[in-house]
């Protein structure tokens, strides 16, 4: 089996290297063929693994590939852990990646950086696979940073644009803040477990559950809480949780295919995956669970609200991604890891679909992204419209669509949770349902319905996108509809994940819910009488009322609630704060240290001051060396007198 796993990761890498280094020789089509073939092989092998592990129930694989280094007797290895969680992740990653590869042929058709783009996304697929297949923290960190790197390269793909290279630097640095926490978390683990291997750490964790550590004298903290919160800080960076979320909206500067692949479906969910993978650790710290639930709740609601005021089609979807990541984090906090992963999967399908469909609109309009200049595109772009509608319905949790099952499970799980903060989180995710439906249908109505605000020239040339674009849309629309119904039962309430996810009995909200579970139909019918669905319908109705029925309402609301509107438009001031305090403050501090510390004190006073001091001293002493014989003779006489006189006087 090892060969299969190696094949899964190496096939995309091979494509990436070929397209990257030899793109000029193999040409455009050569580049897309070689990378698509690589990812396709990877997808096929992933399906094989999925079948073996999940359907046939084969034992998980855990083994090393090579020893990266040995230091202090500790082996740092590169290796794979392939269990149910991994098997699911690799299928999702390779499937979405394959769709995005195909879509890119159409989307990047005229771009001069065609080969480079394919090389990057294939490299991304490799990195993401290494991340999810890792069996130890070292490789996890490798993958973690590698996906960050590719994200950096891809956000700045159009490197001539100032906004793009601002956004990619920002993304890298904000992620680095999270990574610092993550790295320190790894350091705590290494210090207390003496290994970075998951299996050994999970085995030892219960024995260390009551250990404490002291960082500030007089304060004892639970070891597990420290580990989990540090690791979660890493997840907050990668999965864009408040306050480390600021990079994700700006990442939309990258080409749309990567917004779908990296900044919606896969990379940003790495944090969610990591926490689920670490469930044996997180289960041991209720403080960390509560912390996650609170952060997730704040993200889910506050970022959803921002989605309502955005006018860039991609940014609306980006804020929706932030909000949905908040939902997943809330689920993790409620110990509903399976629910989080379930939502991760459904979200990967429908959000990739929404982004790609948005991209299809963007190409049709010649790279126009402002929804105020769209409208009534429904008949011009039928396939795009219907798939976008499917994605939207899945996103808002319309009964029967995939998102319905996963979101409902999360809301229910939070309701059942008894951890501190669950009540607040429940309120946030409930209001969030209304907000989600509102901004989603606002987007849908403004883009596809109502009056056309497209300029006349563009309107004349409007046509549906080519098949390389529409086929991936359709291919993603199908799982967006059905995956929820298929997987809801097994994934949430049955033993789908086996030992890959660990939940303490007292936290096991899903098991509690499972006792009332009566099949998919029961789930849907039950859902229909629950408040979330009605909140979603209310959101749709509000959007319809404001943007179709009475399009003059939004302007009125805007002027009535000007302060609130300004706060939302300023994105709660996070960006201004970071720019002034961290970026500006860092530069000012650096200049201070340089000009005062280095230039004035060290060089001015100490170094050149010493030189000047010596010069001054010499100039004084030089006066003694007059060159006149009688001065010297006089000095000799004084010397003699002193030398002879001293013994005489001292007697």
């Amino acid at each position: 089996m090892e060969q299969v796993y190696l094949g899964i990761v190496l096939a995309p890498l091979f494509g990436a290297v070929l397209a990257g280094l030899f793109g000029r020789y193999i040409g455009r089509s050569g580049s897309h063929w070689v990378t698509i073939a690589g990812v396709a092989v990877s997808f096929a092998l992933s399906l094989l693994v999925f079948k073996q592990i999940i359907i046939d129930g084969a034992a998980p694989f855990n083994g090393a590939i090579y020893t990266w280094m040995v230091s202090d007797g500790i082996k740092f290895e590169i290796g794979f852990l392939v269990d149910q969680l991994t098997a699911l992740m690799i299928v999702v990653v390779t499937f979405v990646s394959l769709m995005v590869h195909i879509y890119t042929i159409g989307y990047m058709h005229d771009d001069p950086g065609y080969q480079r783009f394919f090389s990057y996304i294939a490299l991304f697929t490799f990195s993401m696979l290494m991340l999810v297949m890792s069996n130890n923290f070292l490789q996890l960190f490798f993958g973690w940073e590698a996906v960050g790197l590719v994200s950096y390269l891809l956000i700045g793909f159009w490197f001539q644009r100032e906004s793009a290279i601002y956004a990619n630097l920002k993304a890298f640095l904000v992620n680095r803040v999270g990574d610092l926490g993550f790295l320190l978390g790894i350091a705590v683990i290494l210090m207390h477990f003496n290994t970075l291997d998951y299996a050994q750490i999970f085995k030892m964790a219960p024995h260390l559950a009551h250990e404490t550590v002291t960082f500030i004298p007089g304060y004892e903290w639970s070891l597990m809480t420290v580990i989990c919160i540090l690791l979660f800080i890493g997840a907050m960076g990668k999965s864009a949780q408040v306050p480390l979320h600021v990079w994700l909206p700006d990442s939309m500067e990258g080409p749309t295919p990567i917004s779908a692949l990296i900044h919606a479906a896969t990379m940003v969910t790495a944090g969610i995956f990591m926490v689920a993978r670490m469930s044996p650790l997180f289960e041991l710290s209720e403080t960390a669970l509560s912390f996650m639930m609170l952060i997730g709740a704040v993200t889910a609601l506050s970022m959803g609200l921002l989605g309502i005021v955005q006018n860039d089609i991609k940014r609306v979807v980006a804020y929706s991604t932030l909000s949905q990541l908040g939902y997943m984090t809330v689920a993790l906090g409620a110990s509903a890891y399976a629910g989080a992963i379930f939502h991760l999967m459904t979200h990967a399908f429908f959000k990739a679909l929404l982004f790609l469909a948005a991209g299809s609109v963007i190409i049709a309009l010649h790279h126009e992204q402002d929804i105020r200049k769209m409208g009534a595109l429904k008949n011009h772009l039928p396939i795009t419209y219907w798939t976008f509608l499917i994605g939207t319905l899945a996103l808002i949790g319309f009964p029967g669509f995939s998102g319905f099952f996963s979101k409902d499970a999360i809301i229910e799980a939070v309701y059942e949770s008894t951890l501190p903060g669950a009540g607040m989180a429940y309120a946030a995710v409930m209001i969030g349902v209304f907000v989600t439906a509102l901004y989603s249908f606002r987007l849908l109505f403004l883009v596809f319905h109502g009056e056309s605000r497209v300029d006349a020239h563009t309107r004349k040339h409007l046509h549906e996108s080519p098949w390389v674009v529409t086929v991936p849309l359709i291919a993603l629309a199908i799982p967006s509809v059905i995956m929820g119904a298929i997987h809801a039962g097994p994934m949430l309430f049955h033993d789908f994940f086996g030992k890959a996810i660990f939940v303490l009995p007292q936290h096991d909200v899903l098991a509690h819910m499972g006792r009332e579970y009566q099949g998919v139909m029961g789930f849907v019918l039950h859902g229909l009488i629950e408040p979330p669905v009605w909140l979603a319908f209310a959101g749709i109705a509000t959007a319809w009322w404001c943007y179709i029925k009475h399009p003059e309402i939004p302007a009125v609301v805007m002027s009535r609630c000007a302060t609130l509107y300004r706060i939302l438009c300023n994105k709660y001031g996070f960006d201004d704060f970071n720019d002034t305090v961290f970026a500006g403050g860092g530069r000012r501090f650096g200049r201070l240290l340089w000009q005062v510390g280095d230039v004035t004190v060290v060089d001015g006073v100490m170094v050149n001051g010493t030189a000047r001091g010596i010069g001054w001293f010499s100039s004084v002493v030089r006066h003694v060396q007059t060159g006149y014989l009688y001065h010297y003779a006089f000095a000799i006489i004084i010397g003699l007198v002193l030398m002879l006189g001293w013994p005489l006087l001292s007697q």
């Binding site: 230091s71 202090d72 590698a146 860092g586 530069r587 200049r591 060290v602």
Partner: protein
Amino acid sequence: MPADFPLLSLAIWLPIVGGLLMLATASEQRVQHTRMLALIVSLLTFLCTILLYTHFNHKTYHMQFAEKMEWIQAFDINYHLGIDGISLPLILLTSFTTVLVVIAGWEVIRYKLAQYMAAFLIMEGLMIGVFSALDAILFYVFWEGMLIPMFLIIGIWGGPHRVYAAVKFFLYTFLGSVLMLVAFLYLYFAAGSFAILDLHQLKIGMTAQVLIFIAFLVAFAVKVPMWPVHTWLPDAHVEAPTGGSVILAAIMLKMGAYGFLRFSLPITPDASHELDWLMIMLSLIAVVYIGFVALVQTDMKKLIAYSSISHMGFVTLGFFIVFMIFEQTGSTHGAAMGLEGGLVQMISHGFVSSALFLCVGVLYDRLHSREISAYGGVANTMPAFAALMVLFALANSGLPGTSGFVGEFMVILSTFKANFWLALLAGTTLILGAAYTLWMVKRVIFGAVANDGVASLKDMNAREALVLGVLAVAVLGLGLWPAPVLDIMHPSVQHLLQHIMQSKL
């Protein structure tokens, strides 16, 4: 190869003799001949050091390839050479870098080429001598001898303020080294020997240890350089020709760090223990303070120079965190990782800083400016170069998979065992390092074409691509598989660790 073949001597004297020969036969007409000769000599030296590696026994901490001849009998000064797992990687780095420098100077240097090449070759021999000397006076001679070619390189082939920089460089490092000589003399009178390994065994009282430690510290701290004796480095780098910067950053800075391992720690372990707080503090100042200073530099070479100081902070931190780990945990478990991390950081910094200085050299040769503001959008006209420079910049920011990550990772892990807050401070390099490096990349490489100069740029020629390509392979190789380098070090590091944990009082 016979067991007593003087391979080390060959590696030292081959480039020195080659360099002298070149000086003797220098002529402005036979430029091609001079270049080829320099290349051949540097390649042969590199080959010698490769042989050192292939014949090196990984299992022992004992000095290997030892050579010993009487030199000044009256004071028992010997021509005594030998290497262990600490010096071998540095010797390899030296000969490897010199080859690159020779190729990098190929057609860039037009003024007194033979003298230029000769200076680098002679310096190579002296530097290998520093890393293999087992006699304190021999070490001192190599150490000081090295200043002369570097002084000339900066002073003759440097930029407009080369004389100020060369004199500053010389005085700074020379003054520091004089104290080291005093310490050697004291040790000689106490031990009756200049043999470094004898000095390791010498029992010394605490006061004497502290004084010796401080004398060594002054000498080595200037070379590393540590705050606050670092200001010669940015000036020297800015004025030095590209090759000079490369050798300065890749090898000369390592000598200070090597000195700590070869002299300070084993000869004065108790003083090192007593004063470890000072060393840790200075190291962290290097990481954090200098990181901020690097952020606001407007000259690319200065920025990389400050970044060097910051990265070298990790080396000294890794070396001196050992005692604190022992105090906090009661064992030396985790301490070897700090020492080895520091060593790996030295090698990695040798690759990465060389590469970055060479990158600046490539740009400087074309537009004759080192100012960040003179560039912008270089990726448009030099895509291949941009790809490599971004790779090296990422390595400089410690990206996993590149060599820059390995040492920092190990030192942070090991510092964590000593203290959470120290590790947190050291870890800020994750953010600061990325900020100053990638911000520079943003302003130089990315963006729209900034001016006519950038628009006229031609991508790398084959020679430049070769040099940077080789370094890229080295950076990735060490990052993806550091195990072979670490395996060489283990026995020597373990031995050193045991040694410094035994009190000499």
